[in-house]
């Protein structure tokens, strides 16, 4: 915890001495997180793993929903640290237990807001305002604060108080309609898919706002609607509708740029290889690898438009070939010939992936309460700064230390607030 008090913004004088150059890219950045579920915590997590000091505020009156999501460790039912999902969202953060609805909560919040560079919150729109912690209120305490609110549909507009999760936003934002087979109803893109689209965009806005504050001294409020941000992943399809009136829909595994392209069954149960062939050269090489030289110049396949027209036949040809081999063998044979191919990796494959392992993507930490957990690092590698990986804090683990070290409360003040129930 001593790290907390040591960390401050790097001054110009410090910067001049190379021996004092911070080892983490975001060292010195101070963040208050009042967020739940996925999108908000994931952004604060990315900051924390690059060395920002992130204080996560949570109340026992309204526990994060992820604490109730399995899989569970061996702790008894109802235990607050039972979810294995939860710590993965919260490594490297400090945990402060605080009831934001308590009349004396501001005795803790006011100094923390003064301390912070950035607030990340993801309550349902209206909730943070109801707590008296809207941007307009917060900036009265800290005029140059940066605050990011993220929600399904944004904090203004006709249905801004809508209560939803990424689960359903996937449907609203067009992703579901585009997923599956053309002859069947749409299926759910795995997971709360939009949750994975938003963090890099939110983080970019946060960093831009911090850079802006450096330059101008001004703070910023960022209202990040997950619907609005997610649509930027499908710009060409939206423009295709605008320009050509075409409404994209699901197309199995095909796309306009490749033929053959598909997911083909290989030896073993649920083993598949994805293959995509775009150019004539790749097509010739594929024929070579399959030992079917005669197909290379067959009139029905020799040009891209012809291959596109005969995709069903190509799928059959490939399927007959791939099912004789293991998926890994198919991938290797094709990659060696310069053709895009990949095992359709399951979770075990990804967990053991040689590429990810070679880069230390998973870091295992023993945790006396929760057992051993593998944390994934941020997926970008800086040449001069290190990542930080520490186990997720236990609920309220740093409450007293934050009050002492950051807020500089006396023991009596702390005890008195505790007695009043502020930390419940």
């Amino acid at each position: 915890m001593s790290a907390l008090s040591k960390k401050g913004r790097v001054s110009q004088e410090e910067a001049k001495s190379p021996t004092q150059i911070p080892e983490h890219v975001l060292q010195g950045l101070k963040v208050l997180e009042m967020a739940q579920a996925g999108v908000g915590p994931m952004q604060a997590r990315a900051l924390a793993m690059e060395g920002a000091t992130v204080l996560r505020i949570e109340s026992s009156k309204q526990l994060d929903m992820v604490r109730g999501l399995g899989p569970f460790n061996n702790l008894p039912s109802g235990h607050v640290e039972r979810s294995i999902w939860y710590p993965i969202h919260h490594p490297c953060k400090y945990s402060l237990r605080l009831n934001l609805k308590h009349p004396k909560a501001m005795a803790v919040m006011t100094p923390l807001i003064k301390w912070a560079d950035l607030i990340v919150e993801s309550f349902r729109p209206g909730a943070i305002e109801g707590l008296g912690l809207s941007y307009e209120e917060v900036r009265k305490i800290k005029p140059d604060i940066i605050m990011l609110s993220t929600s399904n549909l944004g904090h203004t507009g006709v249905v801004s108080t809508f209560r939803g999760t990424g689960n359903n936003l996937v449907g609203m934002s067009g992703w579901t309609e585009l997923t599956g087979w053309p002859d069947r109803p749409a299926v759910q893109p795995h997971s709360s898919y939009t949750d994975w689209l938003i963090p890099p965009l939110g983080l970019s806005a946060i960093m831009a706002a911090l850079l802006n504050r450096r330059r101008t001294g001004k703070g910023t409020y960022l209202d990040l609607s997950q619907l609005e941000a997610s649509l930027h992943y499908m710009l060409p399809l939206l423009l295709d509708y605008q320009a050509n009136g075409r409404i994209a829909t699901r197309a199995g595994n095909r796309n306009p740029y490749a033929a053959p392209q598909g997911v083909y069954q290989c030896q073993g149960d649920e083993r598949w290889c994805a293959i995509a062939v775009e150019t004539d050269e790749e097509w010739r090489k594929l024929c070579e690898v399959m030992g079917r030289h005669e197909l290379a110049d067959a009139p029905e396949f020799r040009s891209f438009p012809m291959r596109k027209r005969n995709e069903d036949k190509l799928d059959q040809l490939l399927q007959e070939w791939t099912k004789q081999y293991k998926a890994e063998v198919v991938m290797e044979k094709l990659q060696n010939a310069g053709i895009a191919a990949s095992v359709v990796q399951n979770a075990q494959d990804v967990f053991e992936d040689p590429e990810l392992r070679s880069k230390g993507y998973f870091i295992e930490i023993d945790d006396t309460l929760r057992g051993r957990i593998s944390y994934d690092i941020n997926p970008f590698t800086f040449s001069k700064t290190r990542k930080k990986v520490e186990r997720a804090a236990y609920f309220g683990e740093h409450t007293q230390q934050v009050c002492m070290d950051i807020i500089k409360m006396s023991e009596q003040e702390y005890a008195s607030l505790q007695e009043d129930g502020v930390f419940n």
Binding site: R163, G171, W175, V187, T381
Partner: protein, 413 residues
């Protein structure tokens, strides 16, 4: 603008376009460098069909909007030195050539950082600049396959299936933008620039996070479950996508505080139309545990919801969901998204003028909304080939007109 005063040189192909677009949206000056004659990526379809003269397909127009466009052959000695002069005046270089290519042509980070020690160089590639798969090929489908996401998407009686959206590169480029700005913040604090290695594969591995959790905790493989989520534990996969009277909707049933209010409202509505049985009416959702409910209980709940949704339209269901705080949304197609009232009320859509086409298109607008000032800028269409050559070479870089003409004559610009 948040990033006013910062300049990014963008050498990317389609793997990295989105990075520069994000930086440009947030106010940075982004100079897209193409080879003389234009990038091959401009050819990528779909195209604007009745406007054959437009320089570039819709992917190009989408992800290069807001940028300035110049041409420069960085492989020629004189092109190289001109690029180096640009690097002196810039903050970020982002590129997505095959790993090692920039080193090969003498423009690797070692060289660029000597010219400008504060430069941030961000390299985006399929599998990173090192590692066993460094030279592997890939496209959107195969990259989504490596991520673990494809495996868990689709009907269980057919192969895993993709979303029909070219998206893998956007994930990589989005993280490239975030990381570049983190490095820029560090540079502003320390004076030290650095190199950033983005492996699209590594970025995509996050997409299957919840299945990785099941594997590491229980050695359980989550499988694809069509309209449901298989990563939620308990007696049954969590149903998410449902058919309704005129299409599909998305609705999740959560027990406890998260879902109680909406579930009660939905069951009351069903009851008022005679479509909830005694069991469903008796559930105390506040105390209902998703994980502890049995398969039979879930089956009973789901079959009643399934029947009920079929009797109402998307619109009816969504309107009631808004009013009663039910966790339900429509499954929209892209035309319906353009009609969404919430987006309209937030003035989301931006009209972008394409003078060469003599037409305007409604583009998605600011991806984040700011207060007290707007934080994004949108609305400038993607550049024509070499459109900003004079502005960048003469005004920004300070070449003389004669030097510029020479570069043109030699085919470097």
């Amino acid at each position: 603008m948040l990033l006013a005063g910062y300049t990014c040189l963008d050498l990317t192909d389609e793997k990295g376009w989105f990075c520069g677009k994000i930086l440009s949206d947030l106010g940075a000056r982004v100079i897209k460098i193409e080879q003389p004659g234009g990038d091959r990526g401009r050819e990528k379809g779909p195209r604007w069909e009745d406007k054959p003269g437009i320089q570039g397909g819709l992917p190009w127009l989408s992800y290069n909007q807001g940028k300035e466009g110049i041409t420069l052959d960085v492989r020629q000695p004189k092109g190289k030195s001109t690029f180096q002069r640009l690097v002196e005046k810039c903050d970020i270089v982002v590129e997505s050539f095959d790993p090692g290519y920039m080193d090969e042509i003498g423009l690797g980070y070692e060289v660029l950082s000597k010219i400008n020690p504060g430069i941030i160089m961000t390299s985006i590639s399929l599998f990173g600049q090192s590692g066993p798969y460094r030279d592997y090929k890939g496209n959107d489908l195969t990259m989504m396959a490596t991520s673990g996401h494809l495996f868990v998407t689709g009907d269980s009686d057919r192969p895993p299936v993709r979303e029909n959206v070219e998206q893998a590169y956007c994930h990589g480029a989005g993280h490239a933008a975030a990381a570049s700005l983190m490095a820029l913040w560090y540079r502003e604090n320390t004076g030290v620039g650095q190199f950033i290695d983005i492996s699209i594969h590594m970025v995509l591995a996050r997409l299957c996070l919840t299945t990785l959790i099941w594997w590491q905790a229980k050695r359980k493989l989550v499988m694809r479950k069509g309209n449901s989520r298989g990563d939620r534990g308990g007696g049954m996969p969590q149903r998410v996508t449902w058919s309704c009277k005129d299409g599909q909707i998305s609705c999740s049933i959560y027990g406890g505080a998260v879902g109680a209010q909406g579930n009660h409202a939905l069951v009351n509505w069903m009851q008022s139309e005679g479509m909830a049985d005694e069991y469903l009416k008796s559930i105390k959702w506040e105390n209902f545990s998703d994980s502890d409910a049995t398969e039979d209980e879930w089956k009973s709940i789901y079959s009643q919801f399934e029947q009920f949704f079929l009797t109402h339209t998307k619109h009816e269901l969504y309107q009631r969901a808004i009013r009663d705080k039910i966790m339900l949304m429509p499954v929209n197609n892209l035309a319906e998204i353009y009609q969404d009232a919430q987006l309209a009320s937030r003035h989301y859509w931006t009209e972008v003028e394409h003078p060469e086409a003599g037409a305007k298109l409604l583009h998605p607008g600011d991806y984040v909304m700011g207060r007290p000032e707007r934080v994004c800028r949108t609305g400038r269409r993607a550049p024509l080939i070499g459109e900003d050559n004079e502005e960048v070479y003469l005004n920004f870089l300070g070449l003389s007109r004669q030097e510029f003409k020479e570069l043109e004559r030699e085919g470097i610009v």
